[in-house]
């Protein structure tokens, strides 16, 4: 028999803590997007360079990022590297007298995992965007004496970012939602982590997660709406 009684007041007392957590969530998402865009541009440049060492990096990165669960990627950032860290610590210490500790804090591991995932997907956004730019743009740029990197940086890149701008907000939304995966690596300062912890104390499971869901909704909605406003201001051509 279902005899759960709602106690919203009790749940709402946790709102300040949850909002604090929402800020951390937003912070991780924003940083993961900034870093993700940076790496995605780098991966795109690697691929376009056609270099035999660099372009496989793009292939491997993108394949893993897009074809394995984000949860796995975050796990690897936390447990995988930690395993490696312990290994390195074990074997350098006796001989060299120093330790390399690769273990990441939950915050950094979560950020690294989401960034890795973002970069893979954003690279694909960028690839589509580049296809929409006529080849003759590069030709013109090169004819004016620009080197290949200059043509990419000054002519292709700005157009690519413009075309990919709105699709990129999709990834931003996804990044915000992915922060909840931090729960599996003992991340407890983000919105989901804070909520999860408080539930263990006050047992207002439904109310607490409902409030968290609404906060998530408001954050992602704010992102998509402000992206549209920014796009309208930014791209006047």
């Amino acid at each position: 028999m279902f005899n759960y009684s709602f106690r919203w007041n009790q749940a709402f007392q946790s709102l300040p803590d949850m909002l604090q957590g929402a800020l951390v969530t937003l912070e991780v998402a924003v940083l993961s997007m900034i870093l993700g865009i940076f790496f995605a541009i780098l991966l795109t440049a690697f691929r376009l360079s056609g270099n035999r060492l660099l372009s496989p990096i793009t292939t491997v990165w993108v394949e893993i990022a897009r074809n394995t669960p984000a949860l796995f990627q975050i796990y690897m950032a936390f447990f995988g590297l930690a395993g490696l860290g312990i290994l390195i610590t074990g074997w350098t210490q006796p001989n060299l007298g120093f330790a390399v500790d690769l273990r990441l804090s939950p915050y950094i591991a979560l950020l690294a995992g989401i960034t890795f995932n973002n970069a893979g997907y954003l690279h694909e956004n960028f690839r589509g965007a580049l296809k929409a730019i006529p080849d003759t743009q590069t030709r013109s740029a090169r004819s004016l004496g620009m080197s290949a990197p200059q043509a990419f940086g000054y002519v292709l890149l700005p157009q690519m970012l413009r075309i990919a701008f709105l699709p990129m907000t999709n990834q931003f939304v996804w990044a915000i939602l992915m922060t909840s995966l931090g729960a599996v690596i003992s991340m407890n300062s983000d919105l989901f982590g804070v909520t999860d912890n408080l539930v263990k104390i006050n047992f207002r499971t439904f109310e607490m997660f409902a409030i968290a869901a609404v906060i998530f909704y408001v954050m992602t909605k704010a992102v998509t709406l402000s992206a549209r406003l920014i796009a309208a201001r930014l791209f006047r051509y």
Binding site: P134, T136, S140, S143, L144, M146, Y237
Partner: protein, 240 residues
């Protein structure tokens, strides 16, 4: 001086240039006419090294374009090229389009690049459009902007690849006037064109290409007045 010696070039099984020999002197205006697929546009993109060649060589001021040791970016600074599709950079204003390469390639200071860009844009009649984005320009205006953009690099040679072919007939005149003006100023030019009247007026020499071969080359009065080959006679009859 541009020296083209025995240049051959194929795209897969299709040989588009079958041994071209041609010299263009400083200050000369050469127009190249011929049917589609005759190799005339390919020749232009070979001269500035956008396309590799299979054999022969091209020298620009004594520098071999396709030699491994040649710095193509450096060489392209003195060879301006304008294409049929004008390729304005859509994310930059007209002024920024023209300033970009002088700033980034030649390392010019902002003021200097801007002054030069304004001068070139006024020269081609776009002095009123400096802060406009290319999407707001007509095809003819965009093409003139592309010409100004090439000129801002201070090239010694200008190559024009059917620059009026993609234009509305109403807009052809303004672009041809720009070319005439450049010719009268002594710019060394190679113009691939289908505008016979223009070719007759401005050229020092006209070359007729047919199926990858330069079938005839002569002063315009001679080439248009007394075409020697049957192909040219046929071509001229068809274009009149």
């Amino acid at each position: 001086m541009i020296e083209i010696e025995k240049v051959r070039k194929s795209f897969g099984p299709l040989e588009v240039l079958k041994g071209i020999d041609l010299t263009v002197a400083k200050g000369e205006v050469l127009t190249v006419i011929g049917g589609s697929g005759s190799g005339k546009s390919t020749l232009l993109t070979c001269i500035n090294g956008l396309e590799p060649i299979d054999s022969g060589r091209i020298l620009v001021d004594g520098v071999e374009v396709h030699a491994k040791s040649t710095n193509l970016n450096k060489l392209r600074e003195k060879i301006g090229i304008v294409f049929q599709q004008w390729n304005a950079f859509p994310h930059l204003t007209v002024l920024e389009n023209v300033m970009l390469a002088p700033r980034k390639v030649l390392g010019r200071a902002k003021d200097e690049a801007e002054a030069e860009a304004v001068k070139q844009l006024k020269h081609v009649g776009l002095g009123e459009k400096l802060s406009v984005y290319p999407a707001r320009l007509s095809g003819g205006q965009q093409q003139r902007m592309a010409i100004a953009r090439a000129l801002a690099m201070g090239p010694s040679y200008m190559l024009f690849d059917e620059v009026t072919s993609a234009l509305d007939p109403m807009l052809v005149g303004e672009v041809l006037d720009t070319l005439r003006m450049l010719a009268s100023e002594g710019m060394t030019m190679i113009c691939v064109t289908h505008e016979m009247k223009f070719a007759r007026e401005v050229s020092d020499r006209v070359a007729f290409f047919h199926q990858g071969i330069m079938a005839e080359i002569a002063a315009p009065e001679e080439l248009f007045g007394a075409p020697k080959t049957a192909e040219l006679q046929k071509f001229l009859a068809a274009t009149h």
